[in-house]
């Protein structure tokens, strides 16, 4: 089995009386597309929030490349190469598609107040240098024609693409996609899946939450099923599909 790059141990989060997440152990292995599925309210997004540190876990620990990141700030975690998208797309509405991309790609140093005030030659060169990658990525995502439009003028599906493109500007090692196909039409879904497979073959590890089971089964190497905060099944798509516990979680227990 290949190396584990993200490892989670006994992660717990409660909201009042509700145990939202209670994951004993979760590993993300190098080079795979892993999907996280489960009924509504299973705690998938909360789990995402916990491992990206957008929410703090009550207990447990998170390791990224064997480094303990349990207490790290979310933005520092992103700098280490774990970049996420959101279930409800978050694009910068009143910035152009191009600016959205450029902000994502721009280095933190160049965004320093003094550096921006002085504006050295190297800053300008580095900023201009981004344009190549922006064009490349926008072409990949079929967004190049919308480059100068405001992000809020995009359709829902295109916003999903832009959010993905923005994440790619960070050269992520791990990409966490929260429902990348939600609200995307079937044709665009196909394209998106194609893109996701393509990214994976370039060495980006992908963990995604998705409700479209067909798509999940098609592209994932591994499927993890959550229900009521716990991981109830974990394995190859075929195994998960026929797992009795998964069927029960989706269709309701047969005891009822």
């Amino acid at each position: 089995m290949s190396n584990s790059i993200l490892s989670v141990k006994s992660l717990k989060k409660r909201f009042g009386g509700l145990e939202a997440v209670n994951v004993d152990s979760f590993e993300l292995y190098e080079g795979e597309i892993t999907s996280l599925i489960g009924p509504n309210g299973a705690g998938k997004t909360t789990f995402f929030d916990l491992i990206t540190r957008f929410q703090s876990a009550d207990s447990g620990s998170i390791f990224l490349n064997e480094k303990n990141v349990t207490k790290l700030n979310s933005y520092k975690l992103a700098r280490l190469g774990m970049v996420r998208t959101f279930q409800l797309t978050r694009v910068f509405d009143r910035m152009s598609v191009y600016e959205n991309m450029k902000f994502a790609g721009s280095s933190i140093k160049n965004e320093g107040f003094l550096k921006s005030l002085i504006q050295t030659k190297t800053l300008k060169q580095q900023e201009d240098h981004l344009n190549v990658k922006i064009d490349e990525t926008l072409k990949l995502l079929n967004l190049i024609e919308m480059k100068d439009s405001y992000a809020r003028e995009l359709s829902g599906g295109q916003k999903k693409l832009l959010e993905l493109g923005r994440s790619l500007m960070k050269n992520p090692k791990i990409l966490l996609l929260d429902e990348p196909l939600a609200g995307v039409n079937p044709k665009l879904s196909e394209e998106l899946l194609e893109i996701i497979l393509n990214l994976n073959s370039q060495g980006i590890n992908i963990l995604m939450v998705e409700h479209n089971i067909d798509a999940v089964m098609k592209i994932s190497k591994r499927v993890v099923v959550m229900a009521e905060g716990k991981i109830i099944s974990d394995g190859k798509p075929d195994f998960v599909r026929s797992d009795q516990k998964v069927i029960e979680a989706y269709l309701g227990s047969s005891d009822d």
Binding site: Y75, F86, F103, S106, E111, S116, L123, Y150, S167
Partner: protein, 348 residues
């Protein structure tokens, strides 16, 4: 109609009005108006960095203006309080001004550190409260600030630097030379500040602020420290507010606890909204319009009352400013120089 053309027409009409509606020397009123407009404009530019660029709600601008002004004035020669205790030694004015700006920025840091991690509304509440606390502290620490009696005789530090030709010019046209000097320096500062801000707005830093305004979580997800960016923006806007406060007290020639009342903050907001949130020059234009209205209320009051007293004038003033902002919100919600895109302004 082009918005710059609209702005131009409004400016021309305003100047026309100022010169020909006053029988008591157009020049004097003109300088008075432009000086106040410049001061309020500079303050509004500070709030624009907070609200227009970063989406931060600051309702305590008077405190930032005040702390800058008090710091500067207390560091230069001045007289203090009821007895008028003379303190004849002090720092050179430029140094005192720089320290004043630093004091404003530090107050921004102090208020921002605990609140900028929270939702936007908390900052609004904290700044309102801080402005009142500041004013009451200034009133009660009479030994340091002169309290309600305030500080006087500090203007010389600035007026000594006034070139002779300005004094000469003022005498020829029956203008207050001291006020002309403050007014000119204010408008020079506006130009200087706007040049710097134009540079920053286009820079990666300015872009990052806009991203923070749009969506803080997305900013964090992309590995950027949103709190740090907000803090920097907050301190920069506070320092610009401090500069306007310094000019305000030099324009009055005195400073008391009542100089920095909450209504000052809201007048500055009115100027910002009239001019256009988010645009570079909008706040300054809005301040000019605001002060023309303030001056114009005198004329209108004469139609309403035979000989209006101060209270009636103030009443008419509030009504007209309020009406104008209402009209502005209905017909041109983005302000005169504002961008249509600013309409969706939401606070994070």
């Amino acid at each position: 109609m082009n918005k710059y053309f609209t702005a131009f027409i409004i400016l021309v009409l305003s100047f026309f009005y100022i010169f020909f509606s006053n029988d008591s020397g157009g020049g004097r009123v003109f300088v008075n108006l432009l000086t106040f407009a410049g001061i309020y404009g500079l303050a509004a530019i500070g709030i624009n960095v907070h609200f227009g660029w970063t989406g931060l709600l600051n309702f305590g601008h008077a405190a930032f203006m005040g702390i800058g002004a008090y710091t500067t004035v207390l560091l230069i020669p001045h007289s203090l309080g009821r007895e008028g205790v003379v303190i004849s030694t002090g720092l050179p004015l430029p140094l005192a001004i720089i320290l004043g700006l630093i004091a404003s920025a530090l107050l921004g840091l102090l208020l921002g550190l605990p609140t900028l991690r929270l939702r936007g509304d908390y900052l609004a509440i904290v700044t309102i409260a801080a402005a009142e606390i500041f004013r009451l502290l200034v009133r009660d620490f009479e030994d340091l600030t002169g309290g309600v009696y305030g500080i006087i005789q500090f203007s010389d530090s600035l007026q000594n630097s006034r070139p002779d030709f300005i004094t000469q010019f003022s005498e020829n046209y029956n203008i207050s030379s001291a006020q002309l000097w403050v007014g000119l320096l204010t408008w020079f500062s506006i130009v200087f500040v706007l040049i710097i801000l134009a540079r920053l707005k286009k820079s990666p830093w300015g872009r990052a602020l806009r991203a923070v305004r749009e969506d803080e979580d997305a900013v964090r997800a992309l590995g950027k420290n949103a709190v740090l960016l907000k803090l920097q923006s907050f301190m920069l806007g506070a320092a610009i507010g401090g500069l306007s406060g310094i000019f305000l007290v030099f324009n009055y020639g005195t400073v008391q606890a009542s100089t920095f009342v909450p209504v000052l903050t809201f007048y500055v907001w009115a100027a910002l909204i009239l001019g256009g949130v988010g645009s570079l020059g909008g706040p300054a234009l809005g301040a000019v319009i605001f002060w023309v209205i303030i001056a114009g209320t005198d004329t209108i009051s004469r139609f309403l009352f035979e000989s209006p007293d101060g209270q009636q004038l103030a009443g008419v003033r509030f009504v007209i400013v309020g009406l104008l902002i209402m009209f502005c919100m209905i017909f041109k919600p983005s302000g005169i120089l504002g961008d249509k895109e600013e309409l969706l302004l939401d606070v994070k």
